[in-house]
Symmetry: C2
Subunit: 358 residues, 2 copies
């Protein structure tokens, strides 16, 4: 199952990693610990979901994916700079099983300079801010390299305008996510959570397929026919993926999910699943579910009680229906595309990402 998909993803990873590793852009960065940080995340690998979406959307619309390869690397670099800044903000220590950028630079500084830990920790954070800043420029530079493959400057200018809009949307999504915990959970609306998901998860996926498609078609009219269809496909895929993540975060199995079950409730995150339950439950249920957020620990009993409340309210089945509905819709968007290998890969990727809900 999914053997072709896995092979093709591995091929995308190979080419993206090679181009990024060989690109000269970070060579002139100083000091050397910053140069190392700039290269660190991008060569760590990962799913390379965004380049895959870009290259396959390009192929699906009859393009030559080789022409879109720098654009594929650009969306990956763009993704990594947002991760570097996210990791500072979230004070995370690990990213893909290795130290986060700020932790990596801080450890280097501790050994290199022999200063107090408070100073080297701050140095790590400061350098990580600058690291993300340079990676943002690197992403733009990488997209501009598409001229080497014959992509017209006027198309690139259009794509760059869209890319800046993605920055705006994506950062707004991140900023809403940072702002939510500052507010009373009860006053956060579904509209705001939806905007957050569209920003944090969907908009770069959407740009990736539309950028790949635009390079195939030679225009960046994202609202038109096939580019619009691709955009809707990626947007629905993104929202469905996030809903599935919310669902598995409480109904999943800790071993396969990879994160502690109940952590969204512990952190008081306004997931759509939670907000739906709060609007559907009677007063006593609302009160009880609220009491079950922000606990220091989650016993199996507490998890069970949350699951029951989500089920009884109808929020659980609403969430599953929404995932199924979005997956169906995303799938239908692809129907308008010509039959070829790349369309099949996009279909497989959709099923692969959204299939498992336990």
């Amino acid at each position: 199952m999914y053997r072709t998909l896995q092979n093709e993803l591995a091929l995308v990873n190979d080419v993206v990693t090679r181009i990024i590793a060989e690109d000269p852009f970070p060579e002139s960065v100083r000091p050397s610990c910053l140069a190392a940080a700039v290269r660190s995340y991008p060569v760590r690998g990962g799913k390379r979901l965004r380049p895959a979406l870009l290259l396959w959307a390009n192929g699906a619309l009859g393009g030559d994916p080789d022409q879109a390869v720098f654009a594929g690397c650009a969306v990956e670099l763009f993704h990594t700079w947002t991760l570097v800044h996210d990791d500072i903000i979230d004070e995370d220590d690990l990213r893909r099983g290795k130290p986060t950028a700020h932790v990596e630079v801080a450890s280097h500084a501790e050994q290199a300079y022999g200063k107090p830990k408070a100073l080297t920790d701050k140095f790590g954070r400061d350098m990580a801010i600058l690291c993300g800043d340079i990676q943002q420029a690197w992403a733009m530079n990488m997209l501009l390299r598409s001229r080497e493959k014959g992509v017209e400057a006027s198309l690139l200018a259009d794509l760059l305008v869209r890319f800046q809009e993605v920055n705006n949307l994506l950062i707004s999504g991140e900023a809403l996510d940072v702002e939510f915990p500052m507010r009373d959970l009860g006053e956060i609306t579904k509209e705001e959570v939806r905007k957050m998901i569209l920003g944090k998860t969907s908009c770069l996926l959407k740009f990736s397929v539309q950028c790949g498609g635009a390079i195939a078609l030679g225009h960046a009219d994202f609202g038109k026919e096939r580019l619009a269809a691709l955009g809707n496909f990626a947007e629905e895929l993104g929202i469905a993926f996030q809903l599935r993540d919310d669902y598995l975060g409480i109904f999943g199995d800790e071993k396969t999910f990879g994160k502690p079950i109940g952590s969204d409730f512990q952190e008081g995150k306004p997931t759509l699943l939670y907000l739906d339950a709060m609007s559907l439950l009677p007063e006593t249920g609302k009160k009880r579910l609220k009491e079950l957020t922000g606990l220091p620990r989650y016993s199996p009993g507490a998890i069970d009680e949350i699951r029951t409340l989500l089920k009884e309210s109808g929020a659980e089945s609403k969430c599953l229906q929404e995932i199924a509905h979005l997956t169906e819709k995303a799938h239908s968007r692809l129907m308008t595309l010509p039959e070829n290998k790349y369309k099949k890969l996009l279909e497989d990727l959709l099923s692969y990402l959204l299939e498992r809900t336990v």
Copy 2:
């Protein structure tokens, strides 16, 4: 004296402030406190040195500065995002007489959310990181608006490639400045300090004049003739300005200089003035000057002693000669340009910025 220059700078400020204030890019930013932060620095005014250099370089090479006006706003926005991130790193509270971005958002958060100060301070820093990120995208978006004025996409693509190189150089300059205090002052080389100055001060000035010139000429071959001359002019202007700042930082008058005299010594900054003195002084003088760095307070006696050491070593006169030499060189670069109003403005700006050394 400089009345024409002042009037023309005021005109540049008017047009830049208006375009930035009216530009729709930040309208979709969420939450609203982040949108406010994104607009905050760019509309605070300031000298608008970079847009002035860009527009006048454009005029000097026979362009119509109106065609370059979005590029002028772009370099100003680029400058502001670097200030926002610098201010977080330097933990500064004030920027142009008002609270820095992170302090402004933190104060808002303190009032709006009623959370502990440690949380609202962190929220201010987090939002300021994201604020600079969005401003970086805004700068690119603004440059791309030049198409509205008929600037060719292929020229813009060339300019955007250069702009990313500026990011790399500028951030490396900032990063070296952040790294220096982590190291032993004695091991920092003049070469490194020069690279820091070229990055932090010169490279955006250089890009500004070359970008303006390129729009006038219709090509971005920065190494060629007049664009090269303009680039050298701005680079020399930038280094001379920094040397003058170092000089006034110890030999200036606190009232006109605006910062406490001796603060570079207090912070242990490796200025070229200091490094020259350390290489020229005999052992006893070296030892004494080293003792005079990093003191908690600087009495008039300590300032006098530093001044004497800098004079006796010859570092003071070397610094003044270097400023004069660079000013002369920068001036001679302009000789190759045609005589017109804009060339005169560039000459006046050079004298105005570098004239006062007390």
